[in-house]
């Protein structure tokens, strides 16, 4: 029963046939791989004066990888499966690939000036960033424990180095080391859980695992496996109580890297969580749901309460991103109840998309303002409206969106989450929605505190000369602001994603 198909490795080789590769479906990944090599080699042969070209080139690679994603979506086949259904390109993976590539492009725009002026290793930075994005793009299609683990490591390992990028700054080093140690620990826990899953079901393919788990008749080891897998992934999405690395890492890392970790890296963790929970662990709902319920409730509450006390803007955004993670977890709690399957996917994906826009926007403002004030304190935003009204208005948009105030994107995201949870209609879901509602109010308090500084307080050092915003950050701000506002006022645009978010083989629908 355990190792039904076990055969000697030598015997299996004789049955080996070359897998058919769907080149079109793999095109985004292939473009990124070519781009990584291109940037690496061009960087080696360029003089220091021309290093600025690396950012432009990297941005172009991300845009080029976007093209096959669009063509695949336009052709719109049901799904393209490779390697025996272990690597699947379907609506779910395409929309997530698009989110990651778009976020990566905005992040390049945000990093450009910081790296240029700091004299950091620009070529290497972008190569590592592209490797990490490649891992995320692979994660969206991975439907096998091993593929998921490889994608997770591919996206994490470059991120460990990027967190320590200011190598002469001890706080950046601390950020990198903390992230590395806890990340490796989380990977080990995750891998241990995966080994139990494989050991008790005899397969690493998510749908096979889902087919062999029997609800109400789980082995002790299988329960342990579920707990370990969810725990390992909870580190990646910095869910409480596995969040302790996040604030220190976010504060110490260079600000563009913080934006990268809190948006792209976290979203990738959610993608892994979604794929595993919906495809493999759907029959283990009796273990998954209570665990996710506790994680979601704790994450929202603790993240918010800690964010209230922060005086440093980056640290505040770090805790705010922890608590936003709790909101993204909320719909996953009602998986497998009644008709929740489709709307769970839609709620999470829409939230990830809008969260990417508004959080990247907020970090862009922090970068733009910190270029002048050289400070990370919330008080350094005092009087911003007086000398930089444009930035002040944009900051208001992003903060209000993060708080979930109606005409903006963040509101639609939260609305979808609450609707999904309430549709489930059992007591646990109602209580969770209540906790979420209370947390929305608490969150508004610290977002509004920033806005009070921006609009009402005087400039702390009396320096009211206008801020020069570099054109690349202007572009990042434009993209994120348009995304935040547009998705809010035209929610129909967002809800249409519901039509193309089919997760191939999901049992929980």
């Amino acid at each position: 029963m355990i190792f039904a198909g076990s055969q000697s490795v030598i015997a299996q080789i004789n049955q080996w046939v070359a897998p058919t590769i769907d080149w079109h479906a793999l095109a985004p990944e292939l473009v990124l791989i070519v781009g990584i090599n291109l940037v690496l080699f061009i960087d080696l042969s360029l003089g220091a004066a021309k290093k600025w070209a690396m950012a432009t080139l990297t941005g172009l690679v991300f845009l080029a990888a976007f093209i096959p994603v669009v063509t695949l979506a336009v052709i719109g086949d049901a799904s393209r499966e490779m390697f025996d259904g272990r690597y699947v390109v379907d609506g779910y993976s395409l929309i997530l690939k698009a989110i990651f590539l778009l976020a990566a492009y905005v992040l390049v725009l945000m990093s450009q000036n910081e790296l240029e002026e700091g004299g950091y290793y620009q070529g290497e930075f972008y190569v590592l960033m592209m490797c990490s994005v490649l891992g995320m793009v692979m994660m969206t299609s991975a439907r096998d424990l091993i593929a998921i683990f490889v994608a997770l490591e591919l996206l994490s390992i470059p991120a460990y180095m990027m967190a320590a990028w200011r190598k002469r700054d001890s706080r950046s080093n601390e950020a990198g080391v903390k992230y590395y140690l806890l990340g490796v620990f989380a990977s080990a826990v995750l891998l241990y859980g995966m080994s139990f899953l494989y050991g008790t079901t005899g397969s690493t393919k998510l749908t096979d695992i889902g087919a062999s788990l029997v609800d109400g008749d789980l082995l002790g080891l299988q329960v342990l496996a579920v707990v370990f897998v969810l725990g390992g992934l909870a580190f990646k999405i910095s869910a409480v109580p596995f969040h302790s690395w996040a604030p220190d890492t976010y504060e110490g890392a260079p600000t563009p890297v913080t934006a990268f970790l809190s948006v792209a890296s976290k979203a990738a963790g959610f993608v892994a969580l979604m794929s595993i929970v919906m495809l493999a662990l759907a029959p283990a709902n009796s273990v998954v749901r209570p665990m996710l319920w506790v994680l979601a409730a704790l994450t929202m509450t603790v993240g918010n309460v800690m964010a209230l006390r922060q005086t440093n803007i980056v640290r505040m955004l770090a805790y705010s991103s922890v608590s936003q993670g709790g909101f993204i977890l909320m719909p996953l709690v009602v998986i497998g109840t009644g008709n929740a399957g489709d709307s769970v996917l839609r709620a999470v994906i829409v939230y990830l998309l809008i969260y990417a826009f508004m959080n990247l926007g907020a970090f862009s403002i922090v970068i733009a303002v910190a270029r002048r004030t050289r400070s990370g304190e919330i008080t350094s935003f005092g009087g911003l409206f007086g000398y930089a009204p444009g930035l002040a208005v944009l900051m208001t948009i992003f903060m209000a969106s993060l708080a979930g105030i109606p005409p903006l994107g963040g509101w639609i995201a939260k609305f979808n989450v609450f609707k999904t949870v309430l549709d489930a209609g059992d007591t646990a879901a109602y209580v969770l929605a209540l906790i979420g509602a209370v947390n929305t109010v608490i969150a508004a308090a610290y977002y509004m505190r920033v806005l009070r500084q921006v609009w009402m307080a005087p400039a702390p050092d009396g320096d009211v000369s206008p801020i020069k915003v570099p054109s690349s950050i202007q572009a990042a701000l434009a993209i994120t602001a348009v995304g935040t506002v547009l998705l809010g006022v035209l929610p129909g645009l967002v809800l249409r994603f519901g039509d193309i978010t089919d997760l191939t083989g999901a049992l929980a629908r």
């Binding site: 355990i2 080996w16 690496l40 042969s45």
Partner: protein, 121 residues
């Protein structure tokens, strides 16, 4: 006991046998051999030379680069040998994949070379 856990019984027996055997041999040796310790004998063994300095000594950081470069070739060998043993079975597909794999690994070597990390400065 489930079939799954039963498989681990082998591991337990194996572990027990290892502990018993090692304990038996070492215990037997300790019982029969003469014991005359002196300062010279209790010194840490360092390739036959008298040890110098403390246990916590700094080592040359340049070796670290070589350790990393060694990994490039080591990983390459681990995957090339099994592929080479069955090369006709894997055919053109295998060749393309292996070339791509080697190129990606050699990226690291080329990078180290162009950055001047291969020079012993």
């Amino acid at each position: 006991m489930s079939l799954f856990l039963r498989d681990y019984l082998t591991v337990v027996w194996f572990g027990l046998a290892a502990v018993l055997l090692a304990g038996l041999l070492l215990g037997l040796a300790a019982a029969v051999r003469p014991s005359h310790p002196n300062r010279e004998k209790q010194m840490a063994y360092e390739s036959g030379v008298d040890p110098v300095g403390m246990g916590w000594s700094q080592s040359q950081i340049r070796y670290y680069v070589f350790a990393l470069l060694f990994v490039i070739f080591d990983v390459e060998a681990v995957f090339i040998f099994p592929w080479a043993a069955n090369i006709e079975r894997y055919g053109v597909f295998g060749l393309v994949v292996m070339v791509a794999f080697i190129v990606l690994l050699l990226d690291g070597l080329v990078y180290a070379w162009k950055r001047g990390l291969l020079r012993w400065v």
